[in-house]
């Protein structure tokens, strides 16, 4: 089995994309980029991100019209027809996507393809599970199969995430329904299953045969690490135990094997960070930063001193201090790490950063004003003192 796309085209597109990043960073000349473009041609229609969003929205709107129209046509045929109609419509959408857009018009992740793809997935899944009367196990299994297929065949990233979430769902409900001891060991089942998945993905990443799926594998890698952590996190285990397994905790009581989960909440982030630095593994490093923050939150949640503002200030000050020290430490390349920007990330766009800052940091005074505001001109937090206490 292969992806739906022409492999030479995919390879050439990837080379040009990478060369573009080199050119943005002045590693190669503009003229060289132009030559690379000419040498590595691909037939694909693959517009820039905003155009993709635009086409995606338009495609979904147009498809909703088509669906509505067809829905009207079969609306008086009786309930029994609907599941089959959905399934058929979903499958036809897949064929349409494959033959017309990918086959004839060489669309590659153009926005139109994503729109068609999710639409097709949705109707196929709804049709199938409707036939089985929405049985939870069957729903999860169908989702897993359909999403895995589309993630593989169309190299799609969102369905990759959906597939791994359905996989986690299957694992969870199978153990949960089995009851008894199986409910107790859910965290360990997760840790083992995703540990194995992580190892497999790491192996696959090194193989050339999987080069076109490199982004899908990256997502699998990151999510596996996150799942391993979440399964061992004390807060998650405790709250889910109380919520789903009718565990009743008296004041001062704790969940069974609490010390294991306390331990995992500390050890897993530390291990991620250690191996991230040791192996120069950027995925491990990034995940470790996220889970360290969540571990701090976990402990603050159960052992809070009741002064969030002091916690915030101290945490901020410590973070700023450590980061500035690291910046100075990595002035020169040490242990294979550098503070300099090698290749610009797509989301590292300065305009985007500025917008995020304006939407998050400006409101910092609003926190103070909202507590005591009695009215007046406090419309925007950045103003600081527009509030009248």
């Amino acid at each position: 089995m292969k992806s739906a796309y022409n492999e030479t085209g995919l390879y050439n597109l990837a080379v040009v994309k990478e060369a573009k990043r080199w050119s943005n960073q002045d590693l190669i000349e503009e003229t060289q980029l132009a030559t690379i473009r000419e040498t590595y041609t691909s037939p694909f229609y693959h517009p820039n991100f905003i155009i993709r969003v635009l086409l995606f929205v338009a495609t979904l709107l147009a498809l909703s019209g088509v669906s509505g129209f067809l829905g009207l046509m079969i609306s008086n045929m009786g309930e029994d027809v609907f599941p089959f109609a959905c399934l058929l419509y979903g499958l036809v959408s897949f064929i349409f996507l494959e033959k017309i857009f990918i086959g004839n018009n060489h669309h590659f992740k153009s926005g139109v393809t994503e729109g068609m793809l999710y639409h097709a997935c949705g109707f196929t899944i709804v049709g199938l599970v409707w036939m089985a009367d929405f049985d939870t196990h069957f729903v999860l299994l169908t989702c897993f199969v359909v999403f895995s297929f589309t993630a593989f065949r169309y190299l799609d990233l969102l369905t990759t995430i959906a597939a791994i979430l359905s996989f986690a769902g299957i694992l969870f409900y199978t153990c949960y329904d089995a009851g008894g001891i199986f409910q107790q060991i859910i965290p360990f089942v997760f840790i083992i299953a995703f540990g194995v998945l992580y190892a497999v993905v790491k192996k696959m990443k090194a193989r050339k045969a999987f080069q076109f799926w490199s982004l899908n594998l990256l997502i699998l890698e990151g999510l596996s690490l996150l799942f391993i952590y979440v399964a061992g996190n004390y807060l998650v285990v405790r709250e889910l135990s109380v919520e789903l397994m009718d565990l009743y905790l008296e004041e001062g009581q704790d969940i069974p094997f609490a010390f294991i989960f306390y331990g995992l909440t500390v050890i897993i982030p530390a291990a991620y960070l250690y191996f991230g630095i040791k192996n120069k593994d950027i995925v491990l490093l990034r995940v470790s930063l996220i889970v360290i923050a969540f571990s701090v939150f976990t402990f603050k949640y159960y052992f809070s001193l009741g002064h969030p503002e002091i916690t915030l200030t101290l945490a901020g000050a410590i973070l700023l201090g450590i980061t500035l020290l690291l910046f100075n430490y990595l002035k020169t390349i040490r242990h294979g790490f550098t503070r300099e920007n090698h290749l610009a990330e797509k989301w590292g766009n300065l305009n985007l950063q500025a917008f995020i800052v304006s939407q998050t940091l400006g409101g910092n005074q609003a926190v103070a004003s909202e507590q005591v505001e009695t009215g007046g001109g406090g419309t925007f937090g950045g103003g600081g003192s527009t509030d009248s206490f």
């Binding site: 080379v15 994309k17 060369a19 080199w22 190669i28 060289q32 517009p47 820039n48 905003i50 155009i51 635009l54 086409l55 338009a58 709107l61 147009a62 019209g65 088509v66 509505g68 129209f69 009207l72 018009n105 080069q211 120069k280 950027i282 490093l285 969030p308 503002e309 002091i310 916690t311 915030l312 200030t313 101290l314 945490a315 901020g316 000050a317 410590i318 700023l320 980061t323 990595l330 294979g336 790490f337 550098t338 503070r339 920007n341 090698h342 917008f355 304006s358 939407q359 998050t360 940091l361 005074q365 926190v367 103070a368 925007f380 950045g382 103003g383 600081g384 003192s385 527009t386 206490f389």
Partner: protein
């Protein structure tokens, strides 16, 4: 793209040996950049610290600890400004490369702390006791000054939002969520005029070649405020036709901007606004009840739009 690609390019003579050596170090992962990781941590640090300080300074007022912490805050703030003024490259009308990878976050921290202190002083001593709105204006001008002096896009965004809030136009996440931009009546008209004025000023500055890379930020906020204002006006008043014309005018302008700035975000705004406007127009006039026609309408309009974009794909490409 595989690990061998740089070598392949070298063998084909598309890149030089020198370039290959530089690129191979990066793609093989021999040297790993933690630029974005550290910058994200800095951002988080500034976010947490300023949020904490913003609450802290209003607590335990009058106690010794409070006075000491205010003094510490002022000293820290002066430290930030001392650092940035000492290390900043001289002002230039073009884009300026920051001296260190963390320089702009020190500027950001300093500016935000300064606003905190200013807010505190206003609260304690009521420097501008008559006009509370005025402090927002002062804040905005202070941000504008910092943004231009240190070539800081993020602070420019803060300056624009503060200026908008002086006119009671709120641009913040809570407002996005609740859709509650305009607190008093007829504010949508203020918003429309405000956005047009800001857009004009930014185009003028662009023409004079003063900080051309700021133009996008100005126009982005203008476009957002304009379209939200015009659409609100269309929905609430009897004058909806006027607002519809305004939306179309805005779309034409945004379309032109998208082409000129090679930024298709404006095209996205234009499409969504024009679609809402046109749909409202049709709902008010010809297409009243028949649901089938609505389905046909969405198929035809969006299908046509997709066809248009793909047909003129070269026009919508970033390659110049």
């Amino acid at each position: 793209m595989t690990r061998d690609t740089p070598r392949e390019l070298l063998e084909k003579g598309l890149i030089t040996q020198d370039q290959f050596t530089k690129i191979d170090v990066i793609t093989s992962g021999k040297v790993v950049s933690v630029f974005y990781e550290l910058r994200s941590l800095l951002y988080l640090g500034v976010l947490l610290f300023t949020a904490g300080v913003g609450i802290l300074i209003y607590q335990n007022i009058g106690e010794l600890g409070h006075i000491l912490s205010i003094i510490a805050l002022v000293l820290l703030n002066m430290g930030c400004f001392f650092y940035v003024f000492k290390n900043a490259p001289p002002y230039s009308n073009t884009s300026v490369k920051p001296p260190t990878p963390y320089f702009d976050y020190i500027v950001l921290l300093g500016a935000l702390l300064f606003i905190s202190v200013l807010g505190y002083l206003q609260f304690q001593f009521a420097i501008l006791d008559e006009n509370l709105g005025l402090i927002t204006l002062v804040t905005s001008f202070f941000f504008f000054y910092i943004a231009y002096r240190f070539d800081h896009l993020a602070i420019l965004s803060l300056a624009i939002t503060a200026l908008a809030s002086f006119w009671s136009i709120s641009i913040s996440p809570q407002k996005w969520y609740s859709g509650d931009f305009f607190e008093t009546a007829n504010l949508h008209n203020t918003a429309i005029i405000f956005s047009i004025v800001v857009a004009c000023i930014s185009l003028l500055l662009d023409k004079k070649a003063i900080k051309k890379h700021f133009t996008f930020t100005y126009l982005n906020f203008s476009a957002l405020i304009f379209f939200v204002g015009a659409i609100t006006g269309m929905f609430i008043g009897e004058w909806w036709f006027v607002y519809l014309l305004l939306i179309y005018g805005g779309c034409a302008f945004a379309f032109y901007m998208a082409k000129w700035k090679k930024s298709f975000l404006f095209l996205l705004y234009a499409f969504i606004s024009a679609y809402i406007g046109t749909t409202y127009f049709l709902a008010e006039t010809v297409l009243r009840d028949a649901i089938e026609i609505w389905f046909l309408y969405s198929i035809a309009s969006c299908g046509g739009f997709i066809y248009f974009i793909i047909k003129f794909k070269n026009y919508f490409s970033q390659k110049s």
